[in-house]
Structure formats: C-alpha cells, structure tokens
C-alpha cells in the first residue's frame, strides 16, 4: 500500500499523467467530501477540488518524505477551502464569548446523526460557524491553530464553536420533531 503510494508519488514528481490520474482517483472522493463540508454548493466544491489538486501537483516537490503524504494533501485541501471562503465572503466572526459561554451543551445531542443530515445542517449554518466547526471537530485542529488559520482570537474560535454546536443541536432537534409530527 505504502510502496504503491511511493511509486505514484515518484512518478507524479516526474509529471507522469497516468500517475497524476491514479493519485486523483485514489484521493478525490475523500477530498471532495471535505470540499462539500466547507462549501455551500457543489459547483464551489468542485472548483476547490480542482484548485486543490492543481496545487498538490504543482507543489509536490515541496513534500518531504518524512511526514504523512495524505495529511500533507489534506492540509492543502483545507487551506484551499479557507482561501475560497475568504474570497467569496466575510466569515462574520464576532466575539460573543459571554453569550456563548452561557449556553449549555448537550453531549449526546448529535451522537446518532447521519452524514447526509450533518451536511444538510451545515448548509444552514453561517459560514463562520461552519468553518470553525469543520476545523475543530472534524479536522481536529486546536483552537490556537484555528485562530491562526482564520486570523481571529482563540476566544472567538471557542465562542464560534459553542454557538455552532448549539445551532446545530437546535436545527437537528427541530428537524426530528417535524419528522415525528409528520409521521
């Protein structure tokens, strides 16, 4: 498995089109999934996917074999998404620490959510909430790293996350209640 990736990688460095396509076919579903979580529509997600792969292929010489290749590519994909978000819209990140800290979290509220539902809920959230939620909960970045990436304070990152989770829980409950009523 690793040797196969190394083989593809070395051929991609020589700009072998077949190897580039093989790398795309292997990782594009995973990266398209990431793009769909950050972007609000499929067209934007496709644009970011194209941009991400273009950047991966053109920066391949910068990858040192020491770390994880998949991790390195994922970082490029996430950064491409963040760049697109900055280009398209203002993140609307407000410092609402007090308001956020007064909210209580329900630890079990989203433990049975399906991915399609998650995507639906994320589409309904403001860009800032969605971005912080993606970076912290799904990508596993720390608040310090999220703050650095988005150019905000650590407290803003924390408050945005709390508000994002709260909004998500509310939307999820609302949907389930309406489903129960209709059934």
């Amino acid at each position: 498995m690793q040797s196969e990736i190394n083989n593809i990688l070395s051929r991609c460095r020589k700009q072998d089109p077949a190897a580039q396509k093989a790398l795309y076919e292997k990782y594009s579903p995973l990266f398209y999934g990431i793009c769909l979580r950050y972007m609000k529509n499929k067209q934007d997600a496709e644009d970011v996917l194209v941009e991400s792969f273009y950047r991966i292929f053109s920066k391949l010489h910068q990858f040192k074999d020491a770390g994880s290749f998949e991790g390195w590519m994922k970082r490029i994909v996430v950064n491409s998404n963040l760049m697109q978000i900055r280009k398209n819209s203002n993140l609307n990140l407000h410092v609402e620490i007090e308001q956020a800290y007064n909210l209580k979290e329900d630890a079990t509220a989203l433990t049975d959510i399906q991915h399609s539902e998650l995507l639906g809920l994320m589409d309904e959230m403001p860009t800032g909430y969605r971005t912080v939620f993606n970076l912290y909960v799904i990508e596993g970045y720390k608040h310090r790293e999220v703050a650095e990436k988005l150019g905000i304070s650590i407290n803003t990152s924390k408050s945005q996350l709390i508000l994002a989770k709260k909004r998500m829980q509310q939307l999820y409950k609302k949907k389930h209640e309406s489903q129960l009523k209709s059934s």
Partner: protein, 113 residues
C-alpha cells in the same frame, strides 16, 4: 461533547462521494496549460542565452580579426620593408622579372590545358 465530536469525525472520515466527472478534465487542462507555459519559458530562456552567446562570439571574432589585422600590418611594415630594402631584385631568382614572366607563361599554359 466529545461523544458527538467523535461520532461526527468518524462519519465524516467515511464520507467519500464521487466527484463530478468533469473535475479531472479541468485539472488535466490546467496542468497542460502550465506545461506549455513552462516549455515556452524554457525555450525563451534558451533563446535568450543563445543570442547572448552568439553576440559574444561575434564580438570576440571581430575583436580578434581587427587585432590580427592591425598586428599583421605592423609586422609587415617593420619586417618586410626591411627585407625588401635588402633584396637585390636583379640577382634574386624569384623576384627577377624574367623568371616572373616565365612562371606566368607556364601557369597560363597549364591552366589552358
């Protein structure tokens, strides 16, 4: 909230939708555009250095020829004039007018044949 975080992370990692079929064509097109541009850049760079090398060669050759010309003129002026001054034209075989005429006739005959 770590329970739901873990759940959300795990379902997200498993989410691998099929990308749109045109995406690869767009990537391929962008990559080929870059290749063409870089080839053009490379070609222009080669052409630039080649023209500089050619210009240098012309300059060096011209300088060498001019130097040689001026140098040989001087040498001729100093050495040959001295030789010509010491030369007894009447006695010398090669420079005698008769011999010169004879050589000239012989060569004309040989060319005609």
């Amino acid at each position: 909230m770590s329970d739901s975080n873990d759940h959300i992370r795990s379902i997200s990692e498993d989410f691998k939708p099929t990308p749109p079929p045109m995406a690869w064509n767009r990537i391929e097109k962008r990559l080929s555009n870059v290749k063409t541009k870089s080839k053009k850049k490379k070609y222009n760079l080669i052409r630039f250095w080649f023209s500089i090398a050619a210009s240098l060669m012309v300059i060096i050759t011209c300088t060498y020829i001019i130097y040689q010309e001026s140098n040989s003129t001087q040498t001729y002026g100093v050495e040959y004039v001295a030789e010509w001054e010491d030369l007894d034209i009447q006695k010398d075989y090669f420079y005698s007018i008769e011999n010169a005429r004879m050589i000239n006739n012989v060569s004309k005959v040989s060319y005609q044949n």
